[in-house]
């Protein structure tokens, strides 16, 4: 095998090595990041990007791989965050037991609610998942018994000292990276397994899967629980990363932003949701700091006012992507190639 062929097959490995080594780099990326790559601020942002990239990859297991439009994915992420945070803060458990039980809570919740919501399909499914997630969101915000901290959120106490503070940002970054690798591996393995073939069939034509003698319900439930588990795991990592839980992660807007990430990157592809999640998170943070900077403040109000809202820009960008780039960013190379070929054919 020659070198280019090897690279084409194994390029994720050197890419992963580069990602692992990033905290040791002092390379400044002006415009992309505020400080050098290895600085705590940049690492924190990069870690968030990786977590959301992984979350979007897990969500695409439902949207792109099985064709299930769930509007309640935020619930399982928040279940991981809040269950772990509550066990740490209110029950005084150690971090590892709390994280394990938090993950278990996510698995149990997604299995239970998935089993219920998958009894309806299509728009009904979207609405039932939305309703359950909304119920969770209301519960967290109304703060029953003062445990969830309501709109203030929950500041986690009792995190292990080796995972708290600016000095340990690199460790948190590696944890986020590990979560990403686990998610990518799990999704890839699941999609290639015999179950993954059935998911593909369900996405293309559910009735035909039934005619072949398989019951789609069980397969869809497996996808739902796997995606919910990955989201809950992401919730635990997010709790470590931000040191607490915020009610924003329970809202339907959070699920919508996952949807935006997946579509932005390219639904149903291996790398697309990851790229979309990283791009979205990075853009949201950069646009927010851009909005506070002097460059924007000097503009006339017609430009300044819309530019000061990251969500406005992201919403507009999303509409443009839906129009101009139906396959998302991941579909871009193929589109360019097809255009080059058709141009070559004309010439």
């Amino acid at each position: 095998m020659n070198i280019p062929a090897l690279l084409r097959r194994w390029w994720p490995l050197p890419a992963l090595a580069v990602l692992v080594l990033l905290p040791y780099s002092a390379l400044p990326l002006p415009g992309l990041l505020d400080g050098p790559i290895g600085s705590p601020g940049s690492l924190q942002l990069l870690a968030l990007c990786l977590v959301f990239g992984a979350l979007a990859t897990g969500y695409d297991l439902l949207l792109g791989r099985t064709g299930l439009l769930s509007f309640g994915h935020a619930l399982y992420f928040a279940a991981g965050t809040y269950a772990t945070g509550l066990l740490l803060t209110r029950a005084g458990l150690g971090f590892w037991p709390a994280a394990g039980l938090g993950l278990l809570a996510g698995v149990a919740l997604s299995a239970l609610l998935g089993a219920v919501s998958l009894r309806v399909s299509g728009i009904g499914f979207a609405m039932v998942t939305l309703a359950f997630a909304q119920a969770g969101s209301i519960l967290v915000q109304r703060d029953p018994g003062g445990v969830t901290g309501g709109e203030e959120g929950l500041a986690a106490t009792g995190l292990p000292a080796s995972l708290v503070g600016i000095a340990h940002t690199a460790d948190l970054y590696w944890i986020a990276l590990a979560y990403l690798v686990v998610t990518l591996a799990a999704v890839q393995w699941a999609v290639r397994s015999p179950i993954g073939r059935v998911w593909e069939g369900i996405r293309e034509n559910e009735r035909r899967v039934e005619v072949l003698g398989l019951r789609p319900y069980g397969f869809k439930l497996v996808a739902f629980v796997l995606a919910g588990t990955l989201a809950a795991l992401g919730g635990v990592v997010y709790l470590l990363l931000t040191g607490g839980a915020t009610p924003q992660t329970t809202t339907s807007d959070f699920t919508l932003s996952l949807l935006v990430m997946v579509v932005l990157g390219g639904s149903g592809t291996r790398w697309g949701p990851l790229v979309g999640g990283v791009l979205y998170t990075w853009a949201q943070h950069r646009l927010a700091s851009l909005a506070g900077s002097g460059t924007i403040a000097g503009l006339p109000s017609v430009l300044r006012v819309p530019l000061s809202q990251p969500l406005f820009l992201l919403g507009v960008l999303f509409v443009i992507i839906v129009y101009a780039l139906p396959g998302g960013v991941a579909g871009l190379p193929a589109r360019l190639r097809a255009r080059a070929v058709s141009r070559g054919a004309q010439a």
Binding site: V120, L130, R142, V263
Partner: protein, 287 residues
């Protein structure tokens, strides 16, 4: 007794808001299979336009008219500009409305700030009246009245006019209507305009009901709008009318007689339970 009357009328007022949101959503979904996530944005546009006009001494009825007109125009622009070009890609249509639903509240909070703005409630509607021993705010009656007028107008439109016939036929079987040589796409713009007008009216009335406007109002009303639409059966205006009364009343009474927030919770649990028992909604129209 007086508490029950007050809660009942307040619940009906809330239900009226839900109906105004849900009737348009329901028609749009029934006819076009588009779950319009931008409906909350249309509501917010109506709310801010009404608030703007009312604070510039337009007088409340005129301000409401202005807000409704702006919302209708926004809805028509949305349909012609964003939804129509994606006619053959229903999933992308939904995604485009999601984008608009994110962008518009952000734009509104960029222009007028993220905090709630006080709505100038006209003095004629600020008072209360006595009904069966309860002093009920007048604005609740305005809400219920507006919803009844819209319900009646929609029923007349759908039942007695040619355009209404096309819309009803399109909800039943769009392909067949097209095969008969009728351009259904005109009906698309029409239902978007109707839905936008109702949503914008709901926005203006929400300003009256809550006493303030803020950019997130549309989103939270939209969720209950979805609940009403699904419970009532997609595409059915009468179903939405029944469901909104149920949802508004249950929410008010549960919020009052148990801890606050439990009403909102019981509504979504009710939706889940209903869908599981009768997957097709109250009127059996769910796809």
């Amino acid at each position: 007794m007086s508490t029950v009357v007050l809660l009942g009328i307040t619940g009906l007022g809330l239900g009226a808001l839900y109906f105004l949101v849900a009737s348009g959503l329901s028609l749009i979904f029934g006819l076009m299979d588009v779950l319009n996530f931008a409906h909350g944005a249309l509501l917010s546009i109506g709310a801010y336009a009404t608030w703007w006009a009312a604070s510039h001494s337009f007088g409340f009825p005129l301000a409401l008219l202005f807000g409704t007109a702006v919302g209708t125009l926004a809805a028509v622009a949305l349909e012609l500009g964003l939804v129509r070009p994606l006619y053959r890609r229903p999933r992308e249509q939904v995604l485009a409305t999601v984008g608009v639903g994110l962008a518009v509240p952000a734009l509104l909070s960029a222009i007028w700030g993220a905090d709630a703005r006080t709505f100038p409630v006209p003095s004629a509607l600020a008072g209360t009246f006595t009904l069966l021993g309860a002093s009920v705010p007048v604005d609740r009656l305005v809400l219920v009245g507006a919803a009844l007028v819209v319900l009646l107008a929609l029923r007349l439109f759908l039942g007695r006019t040619r355009h209404g016939l096309v819309v009803r036929a399109g909800v039943e079987d769009r392909a067949m209507v097209t095969a008969l040589g009728i351009d259904v796409r005109k009906a698309f713009t029409l239902v978007f305009a109707i839905g936008g007008a109702a949503a914008a009216l709901a926005g203006g009335l929400a300003g009256l009901y809550f006493g303030s406007v803020d950019p997130t109002q549309g989103g939270s009303l939209l969720i209950f709008g979805f609940v009403v639409v699904v419970m009532g059966g997609l595409g059915s205006v009468s179903g939405a009318a029944v469901a909104c009364v149920v949802v508004g009343l249950v929410q008010q009474f549960a919020n009052y007689y148990s801890t606050a927030g439990l009403g909102d919770l019981s509504v979504v649990v009710m939706l889940a339970a209903l869908l599981l028992v009768r997957p097709s909604g109250l009127t059996g129209r769910l796809a």
